[in-house]
């Protein structure tokens, strides 16, 4: 459904390639997890899918249609969504307004109260609050997730959704992901470092140094990573089994 063909990206000022010839196919209605070391290029890949970055070379296809040159807004309208790793805050915009804007193009009527409930927030306490610096990190993260849950999407990418979310709510969040997956047939991509999140996925993608170094079913990868048999270093290290070494 979503295909990346040899997608590379390098920041104009620098020579270094941040994404290096990525080939990736996401099938409809599956849950994917992307994991890998800090700075590996996970968020960059997500932003590439969303249209925040434009590839230096390569193509992106959605249902066979080339969307490489489409803007962020156009891709959003085609059903691509992204929950930020570090969501921006807005002075003077209320939680309710933000969620209503997010839900505006959803043909199904979205209940804002349910939406907040799904991310573990009590609507009464939050609808009237500004989406500004007064929200805690975890609250902001939950509202960010809600802005994506509000939409009827083909592909939803969540960038470390569990970061800052307390353990108690973790399970609820996992259920929420599975439920929107079923409700809208959304293909879900979750970027995460957490084993419990990775376990939700049908497939796990390992990104190291701007490349997809492994893509496989969760059982195989988890076995490898969690037992520390595979080292994630890009350089040869003590273990001597660096991915690119």
């Amino acid at each position: 459904m979503l295909e990346l063909e040899k997608v590379s990206w390098q920041v104009e000022e620098t020579e270094t390639e941040i994404l290096r010839s990525i080939d990736l196919t996401l099938a409809a209605q599956k849950i994917y997890a992307i994991t890998g070391p800090n700075g590996g290029g996970k968020s960059s890949l997500a932003k590439m899918i969303m249209g925040v970055y434009t590839p230096t070379s390569g193509r992106i296809l959605l249902d066979g249609q080339d969307i490489t040159q489409l803007s962020i807004s156009e891709r959003a309208r085609q059903g691509i969504g992204y929950a930020f790793q570090n969501p921006p805050r807005f002075k003077g915009i209320k939680v309710e307004e933000l969620l209503k804007l997010a839900a505006a193009n959803n043909p199904e009527k979205v209940n804002i109260y349910d939406l907040l409930y799904d991310v573990g927030l009590c609507a009464q306490d939050y609808l009237e609050r500004d989406v500004d610096a007064s929200l805690s990190g975890g609250e902001m993260k939950r509202i960010e997730i809600a802005t994506v849950l509000a939409r009827n999407l083909r592909v939803a990418v969540f960038d470390e959704p569990e970061a800052g979310i307390d353990l108690w709510s973790f399970q609820k969040l996992a259920e929420t992901f599975t439920s929107i997956h079923q409700k809208y047939d959304t293909t879900i991509v979750i970027i995460s470092h957490q084993e419990r999140i990775l376990e939700l996925a049908d497939e796990i993608i390992l990104m190291v140094n701007g490349k997809i170094s492994l893509q496989s079913t969760k059982d195989k990868i988890l076995a490898g990573i969690l037992h520390n048999e595979a080292c994630l270093c890009s350089e040869r290290c003590e273990k001597g089994v660096g991915q690119n070494a």
């Binding site: 969303m50 803007s71 962020i72 959003a76 992204y82 921006p88 807005f90 002075k91 003077g92």
Partner: protein, 322 residues
């Protein structure tokens, strides 16, 4: 039965003396869709045209200079005073001096706004000089809105000056708003706070085209345990120019905080000059100021929700100016 009749008569009078344009102006500057409740004084093109007083609030025309004296009786609760000014003629400079005595332990809302409609080629100007005495333990919310329109070349100019004495334990909330249509404004605000007095100022300013706006706010924390918070947000577009001068003076054990945020766009200019001065070792004064364009992450976030870049920008600015 009798009060109802009075209101009805007054309403008729309002319809007679103010035309549709006047009423639009009133709506913009005073959120007035019809005759206000409570006390009011409507001034049009340099003359008072309509007034209402209540048992607790008296309005008296000044004898020595143009303007009014407003007296709010002590312990008056939950009443309001609307004193909108509308200017619909060109080539006029209207200067008015208004004095407000807000009685002890009263709690009132004062809405002063000025709307200028100038379709001519010459200047329309209104300079309002407002003096407030907020007595012991009183609570005052003062809202001042500016609005201009008209397609002529005539300048629309507003130069308000507001001086507020906040006595022991009184609380003042000030809302200063100028969103549209004023070509040139110099706003001077001076506030002095006595013991335990509290002040919150929110300023909202939008300038565009060739507009020019200057706002000077001086706050003196004279009394012990007085506190002041000033939140200024502005957006400068096109070739407009804004200058802000904030002067926060701590003369006692007191707390003051200025927070000033400007979004700058196009070819606009914004200057912000803060000064905090302490004359007491327990004065705590903070100034935060930021000028910058709209954060790109904010635009991107709204665009990922399906808004166009223009819609995203409008949403951010509208929220920011609240």
């Amino acid at each position: 039965m009798k009060p109802a009749c009075v209101v009805k008569d007054v309403k008729k009078g309002l319809v007679r003396m103010l035309n549709a344009l006047d009423r639009l102006m009133l709506e913009k500057v005073a959120d007035l869709h019809e005759i206000p409740q409570g006390a009011y004084n409507i001034r049009k093109n340099g003359e008072g045209v309509q007034r209402n007083t209540t048992a607790n609030i008296d309005i008296v025309t000044k004898k020595d200079q143009p303007g009014i004296d407003v007296f709010v009786k002590p312990h008056t609760q939950g009443e309001s005073v609307h004193i909108p000014v509308i200017v619909t003629e060109e080539d006029i400079t209207d200067v008015v001096y208004n004095t407000f005595d807000i009685g002890e332990y009263s709690d009132v809302l004062v809405v002063a706004g000025c709307g200028i409609h100038n379709s001519g080629s010459r200047k329309s100007q209104h300079d309002g000089i407002h003096n407030f005495f907020v007595r012991k333990g009183a609570r005052l919310k003062y809202v001042e809105k500016h609005y201009g329109e008209g397609d002529g070349k005539g300048q629309r100019v507003l130069n308000p000056k507001t001086i507020i004495e906040v006595e022991d334990g009184a609380v003042v909330e000030l809302e200063l708003v100028q969103i549209k249509g004023i070509d040139s404004t110099v706003r001077d605000t001076e506030i002095r706070l006595a013991e335990n007095a509290k002040l919150v100022v929110t300023e909202r300013l939008l300038t565009y085209k060739d507009q020019e706006a200057e706002s000077n706010i001086t706050v003196e924390l004279s009394g012990a345990n007085s506190s002041a918070q000033i939140i200024s947000r502005s957006v400068a577009q096109d070739h407009s120019r804004q200058s802000f001068y904030f002067d926060l003076i701590g003369r006692n054990k007191a707390r003051g905080h200025i927070q000033c945020d400007a979004i700058i766009m196009h070819e606009a200019t914004v200057r912000s000059t803060p000064r905090i001065s302490a004359y007491h070792s327990e004065a705590q004064l903070v100034h935060e100021a930021a000028i910058g364009k709209i954060e790109s992450e904010q635009l991107i976030k709204l665009m990922t929700m399906g808004l166009s870049e223009k819609e995203a920008e409008d949403t951010i600015l509208k929220g920011f100016l609240g």
